[in-house]
């Protein structure tokens, strides 16, 4: 039986890409386009194997949604990977302390995300893996020179996009 992943992402092209990558890897993907739709799903569907969550969402933010998930019986131990374009260290720490199991930056590409999904899935259904806070940022996958989806020349950088 396929493992279900709930993808909460409002940006159309990003959700299309992630859905395509995950389905190609054999996962079944349920997509919520905003926080309100995701909240409804939490109340109405069987818990998925894993949640991929953007933080900046219409109506209900990713942070608020994490609270809902963590307080909901049946969902509270589901691994949550925050997939965000933001790499500001305090935001990452806030997400990990707020219920995220891991934090992956969109700039790292789909291969890093898939590695994280595979790392977490064996533990699902038993316990929620503890947020990896060792080293301050271990769970946050910083942008690297490895570009699984694409290689880009020239490579730009933005101060705020550099992980501490």
């Amino acid at each position: 039986m396929k493992q279900n992943i709930l993808l909460v992402e409002d940006e159309e092209d990003t959700s299309t890409l992630l859905k395509s990558v995950l389905e190609r890897e054999g996962f079944s993907v349920i997509h919520a386009r905003d926080g309100r739709q995701a909240t409804t799903l939490v109340e109405t569907i069987r818990p998925p194997t894993l949640v991929l969550l953007d933080l900046v969402l219409p109506y209900v933010s990713g942070s608020e949604l994490m609270k809902v998930i963590r307080q909901h019986p049946g969902w509270q131990h589901i691994p949550i990977i925050v997939v965000s374009a933001d790499s500001y260290e305090p935001d990452i720490q806030r997400a990990l302390l707020g219920g995220a199991t891991a934090y992956v930056m969109k700039q790292t590409g789909s291969k890093v995300l898939l590695e994280e999904v595979r790392r977490l899935l064996p533990a699902s259904g038993r316990t929620t893996p503890a947020p990896a806070l060792a080293g301050g940022n271990e769970a946050a996958k910083a942008p690297s020179k490895r570009r699984p989806a694409a290689r880009h020349r020239p490579r730009g950088s933005h101060k705020k996009d550099q992980a501490a």
């Binding site: 092209d13 953007d54 989806a149 694409a150 933005h158």
Partner: protein
Amino acid sequence: MDQAQATPKAAAGEKETVLVDASFEPLMPQFLTNRKRDVVTMRETLAQQDFETVQKVAHGMKGAGGSYGFDRITELAAGIEQAARAGDVSTIARDLSTLDSYLNRVKVVYE
């Protein structure tokens, strides 16, 4: 494997090349069309001083650029997002122009 190398920025009018996994080819036309649409939306909303919408669109673009491996899009969108937060019209206008030019010059090569 994939090593993105920092090279001097392409001069205006020169093509900039982005290497993309061939499996993403079907998604690419829509991705680029939507980014051009985003630029139009941000220009229109900037003209109305609607910084909140500019910030929102730029944030989405920053994430989409990152997901697809277009670092330059992410870089410029992040700058626009930050400038929109500060209400900095001239920076937004300048970066939108750079972004528009980039989107018209970028060449996608599938591998």
